[in-house]
Structure formats: structure tokens, C-alpha cells
Symmetry: C2
Subunit: 289 residues, 2 copies
């Protein structure tokens, strides 16, 4: 049996690093052969699992600097068939890759918009005149580097190693505590864990509707580790709320809270209960590729 | 006296359309000469007003499909000197611009990531094999079009008019009710209006802390028209909450709620009280440029 893990590709992205860490965890737990499957977008990554082309998807949910990844939350709500199996927290440490001999020769910097945003202070200080060009992934940013020595890209140290590109500066993040949380998803109902994630919509224009919904957790002493609003896409001012609770779905307290919550909300979707693992960046080539 | 309005440029962006609508409103109210000043980023647009190089900034806050504009909220919190003067809601209607003779010849589509996301269903249906390339603005996407007939860009009808480019398809948004809310900001304390916006941080890991903060509004029958969380950038799981209330800052109810809120929060910043105006897309050349 081959277990395939879908992630945002190509090889060298942070999503691939998280997928590799997930593969290493699973290798210790199950006997299957594991294969990583890169997809060109987060939406395609999630659909590949919903349509059973892959068994698991590893997708970013939230970065500690740039915030939530809207497309992940929106697609999860729309699909309504995926369950969270575990969460992985990956420290993010960006490097400036370039074939230039020094910073003074760099005129253009390519990277994913989140990576450009996470290094904006460094870029403003050391490359104030460089043009910043967004790309679909940190790996895609590497394409021009060996043809044009006036260009640079922001990516991981691992990407530099895979593609044989020189690192001009490292680390270049503005905030040292930069990390990204990923969810590992599959169509199977999740085992229980320390955290539970769900989302709901509430009647629009009803004063206190959100407070009433959140109160079902507060009055039971359940801590919310996160709340994020996303547009319903029906009209401006109409939202879904994504909530993480620090408790397992199979506790009586959470079950009672969810019964109350159902009465306070228009639509309620529970994405599962799971544990959070801190993982280390992986700098070496892997046998899972 | 010249009143300058900063916005994300270059000419042809939706932000410029909102700035033009703002200029037209102001023209009817004051006697000053009005000038639009395009900036290459939202951050630079906001800093230009904080540093008194421009009098007003017009920046996007939220799109009805893609959600909040994190960089606007983050910069507003950091600067802590700008006040909201008014809000403008602009309907967003995207066109596909290209010098190609038909859709079958298009291999690449350029646009701002938000515009690409807002048309993803249309692109998937009509250009399933096209490569999607992000750009810094919808206007920047137009640069290659006249040199390469295998490329297209997503931008407004107005951009097509300004740059003399043919429209191949219109409208191509997936959701007809697509609109973007802009804030008009200046260092001056705002006049009063129908809505009040503020942001606060709460003690981390205290169950019910967010509920207690929101309760100060619910128990007074004050409706929240929006709540959005943003990372504090200190550590994962530590948030700021941006809240819009449907009431004026100078009412006794709001004043009392804010006194209570101060006791429940770590840090509280009030961005002002203002009115919301629905504006029309502007398709003609303007004398404010």
C-alpha cells in the first residue's frame, strides 16, 4: 500500500517541509510506503484528497506574522468532507538566494507575497531600491536566478540546497518567532486530541449574536485559542467564524457546548479534534520525494 | 491650497477609482484643489499621510469575497496616528484584457492575487490550462499585454480605457456581489458618523477574555458589523481584534461601552467614527489625475 501526501509544490516549499515532517511521523506509526505529491495550489491540494487521489493533504492555516490563510479555511468550509488529523507548527526562517556577488548588485527580489511581507523590514533596510515581484510559491521565485545575477529570491535554506543556489543573507525575517501552522487533513473521521476546530455562521444584523455563540465556551471555562472571521461571499458584512478550542471533542463539556452552539448558529461544521506537534525544519534530501 | 489624496497606484487600480470618488465628494464640500498621488504599496500610502506628505489616504480594508486586507489593519495599529474620516464601498467588476483574438490563444493570465482569486471559477471554466501569475496591482498586470498576444490580464474596464487595451470578456467575477470597502484616513480627529472602528488586545490564555470584551457591546444592544483577528506578531496564538460598531463614538452608550472595554483589554485603540458611502465605479478620465 502506498500512502500519498498532497502539498503545495514544487519541491523546496515550506509546505513540502511540513509534508516531509508528517511523512516521518507516519513512518514511525504505520508500515505503508509514503509518497509526497506536489500540487500547484492549495485548492488543488485539498481537492486531491476530497476526490481520493491522495490520502492526506498538508496545508498552511495560519502564520504568526501574516495571519490566516483564507483559501484554506474557505475551501475546507465549501468541501465539508475533510477532517483534521493533526496540526504541525513549523519555524519559518527565510534566506536571500542569489547568484550576485553582493547585495549592491540586486535590483529585483522574487518571492511568495507572504515571504515578501515577512521580510519587508529587512528589504527596506538592505535593498531599499529593489523591485519586489510576487510569485505563486517560494520555489517558483528561484526560476530566474541563474540566468540573471541582478535578481534574488526569498526561500528556505533547504530550497537553496535542492536547487544548488548560493545564500547571500540568512536569516532575513523581521520577526524571529516566525512560524506557520499546518493542518493534516483526510476524509476519515479524526482521532481525538487536545484541540477542536469548527466554524459557524450566525444570523446577520442581530446584536450580540456572536457573543451568545462564544458564550457557550466561556461559561464552561473552555479557552478559545483562535477566532477568525471569513466572508460568506454572499454580501459585505456577512461572516463565517472559524474557532479553535483547547479541548477534545469527546469530552462532555465540549459536547454540551456544541449542543448549545447549534441553537445559536445558522450553520455549524466541526472539522475534528487533533494534537499539535512542533516540528523542525528539514534541511536534507528525503527518500519520500 | 492643494489637497493631496494618496492611494495604491499606478493609474487604473481600483484604489485609484475609490480615491477619485473621494475627490469628487470632497470637491462638492470644500474649495481646495485636489490632487491624486499614487504610491507603489499600501504601507507607503499610509506612511505618506502619517508623515504629512499627503493629507488623505484611501486604502482597501475588506473585500466581500477575499476578506480583510491584513496590511491595512496592521499598519494602522502600528502607526497609531491615523483616524478614519469616511468609508467608501466600491462594486468590483473584473474584465479580461488581452490583445489575443480569442480565449483559445491565451496561455498566461496576470493580475493581483485578490483579483485572480475572485475570478478562479471563471478561469477554471474558460482558461483551465492558463498559467496564473500574481502581480503587485491590477495595473501592473497590463505591462506585457501589447508585446505578447498569448497573455491576458484581469483589471477594471477603466484600466482598459486608460491604457487602450481590448476587453475579451466582462464581467468575469465568480460572485456578482463583489465589492471592496475602503477607508479614507488622515491624522485629523474624525467627525462623528454612523460607525465606529477600534482594535484591542486581550490577555492571552484567559478563558472567556474575548467574550467579556465583546459583551460590553452586546449588553448595550450595540451591533458589531465586523470582527477580525490579526496576529500580534509576538507569538502564534496571540491576537489583536479589529471591531466595527454600528453606532457613533459620541453617543453615551458607546462611551460607556468603551470605559468598560478598557478594563477588559490590554491595549485599546479607537480609529474614529465615520459614515459609509456607496460609490459608483468611475469609467472616465478625471481632472484630478
Amino acid at each position: 500500500m502506498v500512502l500519498s501526501i498532497a502539498h503545495l509544490g514544487p519541491s523546496g516549499t515550506y509546505a513540502e517541509m511540513a509534508a516531509l515532517a508528517c511523512a516521518q511521523q507516519l513512518q514511525a506509526e504505520i508500515k505503508a510506503e509514503i509518497q509526497l505529491c506536489p500540487y500547484p495550489s492549495i485548492i488543488q491540494t485539498l481537492y486531491s484528497v476530497a476526490e481520493r487521489q491522495s490520502q492526506l493533504a498538508v496545508v498552511p492555516v495560519e502564520n504568526s506574522i501574516e495571519g490566516g490563510v483564507g483559501v484554506t479555511l474557505d475551501t475546507l468550509w465549501q468541501l465539508d468532507v475533510l477532517h483534521i488529523q493533526r496540526a504541525l507548527v513549523l519555524p519559518i526562517s527565510h534566506a536571500l538566494l542569489s547568484c550576485a556577488t553582493g547585495l549592491e548588485n540586486i535590483q529585483t527580489v522574487y518571492s511568495h507575497p507572504q515571504a515578501l511581507a515577512q521580510c519587508q523590514g529587512w528589504l527596506h533596510q538592505f535593498l531599499p531600491n529593489a523591485q519586489l515581484i510576487p510569485t505563486n510559491s517560494t520555489t517558483e521565485a528561484l526560476q530566474q536566478l541563474d540566468q540573471d545575477v541582478s535578481t534574488a529570491a526569498i526561500a528556505s535554506q533547504r530550497a537553496a540546497q535542492i536547487y544548488g543556489l548560493p545564500i547571500l543573507a540568512y536569516p532575513i525575517n523581521d520577526h524571529p518567532d516566525n512560524c506557520t501552522r499546518f493542518w493534516v487533513l483526510s476524509p476519515e473521521v479524526a482521532p481525538q486530541g487536545s484541540h477542536t476546530s469548527l466554524a459557524f455562521s450566525i444570523p446577520a444584523n442581530l446584536p450580540g449574536a456572536l457573543v451568545k455563540a462564544l458564550q457557550v465556551f466561556a461559561e464552561r471555562g473552555l479557552n478559545l485559542s483562535r477566532i477568525e472571521s471569513r466572508p460568506t461571499k454572499r454580501s459585505l458584512g456577512d461572516y463565517l467564524f472559524f474557532v479553535d478550542i483547547e479541548a477534545s471533542l469527546d469530552t462532555e463539556t465540549v459536547q454540551a457546548a456544541l449542543i448549545d452552539l447549534k441553537a445559536q448558529t445558522e450553520m455549524l461544521k466541526v472539522f475534528g479534534s487533533y494534537c499539535i506537534y512542533n516540528i523542525e525544519p528539514c534541511n536534507t534530501e528525503s527518500r519520500f520525494n
